[in-house]
Symmetry: C2
Subunit: 522 residues, 2 copies
Amino acid sequence: MQAYGLTVDRFLDHAARWHGQVPVVTAGQGEDAVIGYAALKDRAERLSGAFLDMGLVPGDRLATLAWNTRHHVEVWYGAMGVGIVCHTLNPRLTVAHLTAMITEAEDRVLIVGQGLGDLGRELMAACPCIEKLILMDGDAAKMETGARPEIEIEALLAQSGRPATWGGFDENAPAGLCFTSGTTGAPKGVLYSHRANYLSTLRCLQADALALTGSDAVLVAVPMFHANAWGLPFAAAAVGATMVLPGRVTDGKSLARLINAHGVTVAMGVPTVWLGLIDYLDASGEETPTLERVVVGGSGIADALLKRIEDRLGATVQTSWGMTELSPMGTISPPARTPGAARASGRAPVGLDMQLFDANGVALPEQRNVVGHLKVRGHSVVERYYGHEETALDAGGWFDTGDLAEIDDAGNLTLSGRSKDLIKSGGEWINPAEMESIVGAMPSVGLVAVIGRFDARWGERPVMVIEPRQGHAVNDNEVLAALRGKVADWWLPDRIVSVETMPLAATGKINKTQLRATYGAA
Amino acid sequence: MQAYGLTVDRFLDHAARWHGQVPVVTAGQGEDAVIGYAALKDRAERLSGAFLDMGLVPGDRLATLAWNTRHHVEVWYGAMGVGIVCHTLNPRLTVAHLTAMITEAEDRVLIVGQGLGDLGRELMAACPCIEKLILMDGDAAKMETGARPEIEIEALLAQSGRPATWGGFDENAPAGLCFTSGTTGAPKGVLYSHRANYLSTLRCLQADALALTGSDAVLVAVPMFHANAWGLPFAAAAVGATMVLPGRVTDGKSLARLINAHGVTVAMGVPTVWLGLIDYLDASGEETPTLERVVVGGSGIADALLKRIEDRLGATVQTSWGMTELSPMGTISPPARTPGAARASGRAPVGLDMQLFDANGVALPEQRNVVGHLKVRGHSVVERYYGHEETALDAGGWFDTGDLAEIDDAGNLTLSGRSKDLIKSGGEWINPAEMESIVGAMPSVGLVAVIGRFDARWGERPVMVIEPRQGHAVNDNEVLAALRGKVADWWLPDRIVSVETMPLAATGKINKTQLRATYGAA
């Protein structure tokens, strides 16, 4: 059969050829910006030429620090199409974090989105590897010349945008770089290959998974700096779906306007975003009649919350689980819900093998309806972290997700905590997630986390940290009473700490590393 | 990212693990035979062991001459899972044809389905390369020993069925071998790689294409010896859909019973099969309420015929176009029909590039709404035929489909003849397909074909061969009158021949090679 490399430029090429007039929409302050896939590809190809003219060569890293806009999509394809690695950075990280990531990646160019020029300049000053700063989304450059110049993207295109030929390199060449959130350790880079992204896209497009079609309009409310925006800039182009990009603003009012202005049928993002949308709709009395499906990610979303989203939006919620290391989709529940069927985090479409292990790395004899350490294998799973010498896999070729999980008879995955969060007390395991779930449901509790504290006698003992809900106070005895009878008595925390503000990582997850530093010592 | 070979054994592995109890049904004379994917995989793994014990090694060819049954599916996976090439043969071919194919492929084992034991013995006598004959689907072996023994599949499993480990070989290793129908020349073998089949399966599973889900039950009415049964034994397993296999019998009554007994939602096969089903339903007054979609292949299906199928079956018809050389799907119309949208043969999902060329191999400047020679490129397209030294591609890497086609603004493909059928008269081209379409619509005409006859002055001149409909006669003047004004006068056939029986190839297509031999001389 033919040699035909699985490279992601083929997705935009396909969209440009067969869905050339289908719009890619970017939310604007006044009018929304609309461009067809054919015109977008033309611009992306000219950006490729400009990147090559700058002296970037295949394999070089180019960083983006930007929101979901069509310029950002153009930069992705412009870089990846000629084998340049697109390193997506989260604008909500600290300068120190960003500097560490840029330095480790040796990014040669930094491209920043709306309102991020000053942060870009600060990073350029801190990172000698950055040779050039490019501004986009309408922000103007401050200076046009200098040893390390900055330039605006339209000026760059006008100056040196010659169309470059895409593809033709090995499908195992790197396409993107994304650092994990690092809530339980130092951030680690995942270097996505073209092949892994291509296969991940096809895997997602199955009818029991994302099931996008050329008739869909997709609201990409998950950031492009977060695990490839769940692969949407690839998947939407691959089928010619309308892409609706919210830019910087994802409040309920803005999203409601976008959904109704562009007939959005499928929306993807974390539950918080949809709760904001519902609050706005409740207040304004508006509806979102075109919306058919909402795909949410992340673990531990209560069924009541899902039902609230479904009822208010008149849309089916599809739950999913993924990780940066999986490119990123692991499991997803199907678009058509069987009434009464377990939702959990859905099932794994073909291409990802899942297996449960015990704490010693031995595969559990029973793989169903028991909690185990979840390990995976697949065509889009990391083999080693960026710059690491050692493999991230065990001797059997499995990647340890760090999640504790259970799989039911129908293959639905339910996450039940992080294995790194487990507390070993007197040789036995305590699962913080179970206690967090019980206490988190108390009306007075906003956020709750359980961590292990060093203990000379038991090894570790649990400490519970609580951020009470606005206007509430938490009573320790009520907390202990809520737990008693539901967990073993020896699981009960030795100490309960009330804090005003829970430390959060940039992704919004509770930063347990910081909690351990503060409360984990003897 | 991880090295994870795209090998087809992963599909059945996935089905066995996550859809283990989902049935694979084979039509029986009394009761239908039902086996779950888990049990089927167990048997296929033990068949692998038996094949290896016979001395077959990866890369060896094993031939099947069989209907659509679960034994046939077991043999496919049993062979492919350990890298043995499964060569599918059409039982309706002549012994001479089959002997030529077996000899060219050097098949070491021949496995035959129900009622094909004697044909198998005849072929074994004619083909010294065949070392062993295996009977399945319930047929008993005649002798158990001898220089070239025959054995029944259950006896084989009992004797040497040890489970073998699947996969682990290169994804570019061959999985299957299928010869083209050879209506316009000698049959040529297409050697499918595991990678091509894997990618073709994922490509088909998109929501705008086959869109199979774990809730579907699929009637596989396209034979497994015909271009991988359009990939269904892979696609159904990949999503855990119920597979319903009709065995040898595909008359309307048998199919209606199967559809209703097993809640078939999607049915795939050529239009003739569905017309037979409709005739039966009309006669019996039965319905097929579970059927949602019918996928048909082949070119030139009249819209009226599609509408008749849709109306009577209460199902959406999806049209498609494919070739053995494309693994096999090229284009398909989506499951959800936009009213009024062109159906034609549908659009090409990502992974197949299409381009139209002129007769000299130059790409047409306008790719839309003009007829051209269709060439393709893709991850599941043939590079060279089996045993051929030379590539099947042009200098630009394109495979010439031999089809004349037009593509509309929305990307829908319409086939308009075979380029090899074109007749060159006085330096200009005549397209037989246009005249065949006009004359084929006449009430008195059953089958019609136009071929070129050598002509000293013009090079070639058209001859029309007609098989009148039962009880009708064809009047030459009426035929010419039907054509006049619709095609150029110089296209009109010089001669019209009425035949009692049109020569057909084994696939049911009109055998133009034979017509040319009979009527093509000066």
